[in-house]
């Protein structure tokens, strides 16, 4: 097993370490590589979600969306109630 000190250099969360520890049978170097790659993927996913939130917030604040027309609204309501 790698020393925790080695892994902490990369600021990997404890949660991630716990999950990575379930990867049995891997050589230490491989284990560390997987932990770092996973941490990087999670950081990218978090950044993408923050970006998506910011983009959606800008659209909401700018009123950048189209209301459904009364005919569309009536159609979707009718479909929900089993009509055609």
């Amino acid at each position: 097993m790698p020393q925790p000190r080695t892994v902490q250099t990369f600021r990997v969360s404890r949660d991630l370490l716990r999950r990575a520890a379930k990867l049995d049978g891997l050589r230490p170097a491989e284990w560390v590589r997987l932990v770092i790659e996973r941490a990087a993927r999670e950081r990218v996913a978090q950044a993408e979600q923050q970006e998506a939130r910011a983009r959606i917030r800008r659209r909401i604040d700018a009123g950048d969306f189209h209301d459904e027309t009364p005919a569309e609204a009536a159609r979707y309501d009718r479909l929900r109630h089993g009509g055609r």
């Binding site: 998506a52 939130r53 959606i56 909401i60 604040d61 189209h66 979707y76 929900r80």
Partner: protein
């Protein structure tokens, strides 16, 4: 600040599924749920209705995986137990949405139902609004 809590009527999910207009209010609401800007609240009967309606109209959808939308919504949602409500005598299936909103302490119920649900706004502290009106309520509340 915690995300505003929202119940989506299946008609709004259908709208996001079927509309050719990707800038529609219903699409933006669904995207906001996916991004965590809004906390979706569901109950088991509500998810069952999402699934039923989406399956019925999957062939008309522009999405490659229509049922995936239901799964994504369910994954992002908080599952609650609906409170028993008997308000809409003409259509008890509408009561499930009101009961889910109350059980999940939702801020908003988004719907296109002009006959039974929208006239109830506000219902015991829950704003019952069209998707566009929900979005207008959220303006400047980031």
């Amino acid at each position: 600040m915690s995300a505003p809590r929202l119940v989506l009527d299946a008609s709004v999910v259908l709208a996001a599924l079927l509309t050719p207009n990707r800038r529609s209010a219903s699409c933006l609401l669904v995207e906001a749920v996916g991004a965590g800007t809004l906390q979706l609240v569901v109950s088991a009967p509500v998810v069952a209705e999402y699934r039923r309606t989406v399956e019925e109209h999957a062939a008309e959808s522009h999405l490659e995986d229509p049922l995936g939308l239901v799964l994504d919504l369910a994954a992002a949602a908080e599952l609650v137990e609906p409170v028993e409500v008997r308000v809409v005598r003409a259509d008890p299936s509408d009561d499930v949405y009101l009961g889910t909103a109350l059980g999940g302490q939702a801020d908003y119920l988004a719907t296109f139902d002009r006959r039974h649900l929208l006239p109830l706004d506000p219902f015991k502290g829950v704003r019952v609004l069209t998707p566009g009106d929900v979005l207008r309520q959220l303006r400047g509340r980031g």
